[in-house]
């Protein structure tokens, strides 16, 4: 792995920026160079939210993610907007509860995870982003250093919500172990 570019996109409030921050911290703990760049401005208030994360063993040049290696699409507008941008051979992760259509690209690996439904089935609403993140990490060898995942979560779950750490960890594992049936 030299440089991997991730793009997280969805509705404001789905924890898009949080997921990206989690991944960036994991990269930092793994000893990599990282950058995290969010969309900002009025579109975040109830509209679309996105953030680009670059993880590299070299200095990160541009932090702007234009052709992601990995796209995490948590709603339909995000998939519509960014599907064509993904690098050939890249990966697309879709929250299939909220995105009813299939990915049209045939030159990318696609993972459909009904993350919002799983979250609601497990009575952990608002954890869909972390469930999906579990799957992303599982498919990108992110759990090779499992302690780094735990440590990264500790960094991004604020002290005020420390009681949510176990809930997050649990959601992460549910996502990790999910298999499309």
């Amino acid at each position: 792995m030299a440089t991997t570019q991730y793009l997280f996109a969805g509705f404001g409030g789905q924890g898009i920026l949080f997921s990206g921050k989690l991944l960036a911290y994991k990269g930092l703990i793994d000893g990599m160079n990282v950058s995290w760049l969010p969309s900002y401005g009025p579109e975040m208030r109830g509209g679309t939210a996105s953030c680009g994360v670059v993880i590299s063993d070299k200095e990160v040049a541009s932090p702007i993610v234009v052709t992601p290696d990995v796209l995490i699409a948590m709603n339909l507008p995000s998939l519509d907007r960014y599907e064509s941008a993904v690098r050939p051979g890249g990966m697309i992760f879709v929250d299939s509860t909220l995105v009813e259509r299939k990915v049209e690209r045939t030159d990318v690996q696609v993972f459909y995870v009904p993350a919002t439904k799983i979250a609601s089935d497990h009575n952990i609403p608002k954890m869909a982003n972390i469930i999906l993140m579990g799957k992303v990490l599982a498919e990108t060898n992110g759990f090779e250093n499992e302690q780094a995942v735990v440590d990264a979560l500790k960094k991004v779950v604020s002290a005020k919500h420390a009681d949510m750490l176990d809930v997050n960890l649990n959601a992460m594992k549910i996502g990790r172990d999910y298999q499309e049936g």
Partner: protein, 354 residues
Amino acid sequence: MADKVLMKGNEAIAEAAILAGCRHYFGYPITPQTEVAAYMAKRMPKIGGTFLQAESEIAAINMVYGVASTGKRVMTSSSSPGISLKGEGLSYLAGADLPALVVNVQRGGPGLGGIQPSQSDYFQATKGGAHGDFHMIVLAPDSVQEMAELTVRGFELADQYRMTAMILADGTMGQMMEPVSLDFKFRDPVEKPWAVTGTGMKREHNIINSLYLKPDLLEKTNFDRFERYKVIEENEVLYEEYKMEDAEICVAAFGIAARVAKNAIDQAREQGVKVGLIRPITLWPFPTKAFAAAAEKVGHFLSVELSMGQMIEDVRLAVNGKAPVSLCNRTGGMIPLPEQVLDAILSIHNGGAK
């Protein structure tokens, strides 16, 4: 890397300022720099400092003038339209030879413009920014680490030369998170015998003022100030060279544009094109000598900017006709893609750079 934390550029500026001993912040909210003020609002009360959201940008910069007069480290931050409002205060700070730090996290203009990143305040920052003969030291970070480090440097240079230092960042630099180490090497503090701190009945009154009704006296203050500027131009220039050793094409870019340009340069190098980058870190003083030296070896310059082409004028002055200087740009809140910069490099290369 254990000592590094992820911070937004805006937060890194605020924390670095506090670590540099700044205990007085005055500002007025504006996207995309609001996190500077938000961070200060949270931290200053806990460390005995002053955070004050002023009634306007104009009020804030004049509060800065007040604290600067006492010799304390003080700062304000804003974004493009807000900096224009501070213009009068910037000129008064210069006229009174007061040190201060001013942060501009630029957005697209002119007018109210937009809120997305821009570098179109280059002229305003480097050519004075308001009425009268004066300069500010202008520092252009290209990473969150530099946002922090140049904030510290800015305070130190401001104190040393009794003038305003400006951090000229942009929306991406402010909003981006990167690992940052806040372990700084501080310079020794500078004595400020000119500060108005009370005479204690032991010395003459110090007077802070920018009004000189006698033109010969005003001329002398300007001459003296520009002597100081000469020292700065001699000693305080900062820039980075990237892959310039064998370069035949030289890209000029600062801030986020330099980050994008590095991607394009790496891609062009993979295609065998010898291209490098000079990244000014101080925009004033401009690294004129670095560009002049490069002009002896390089066949073509390419200025990459988030504006209609502003820094390109300083590049042309430095190159002094020895090589063509082209522009690759987006503006209004748009950012050039690495592909656009690569295309510009390749087109120069295929057009036959010397």
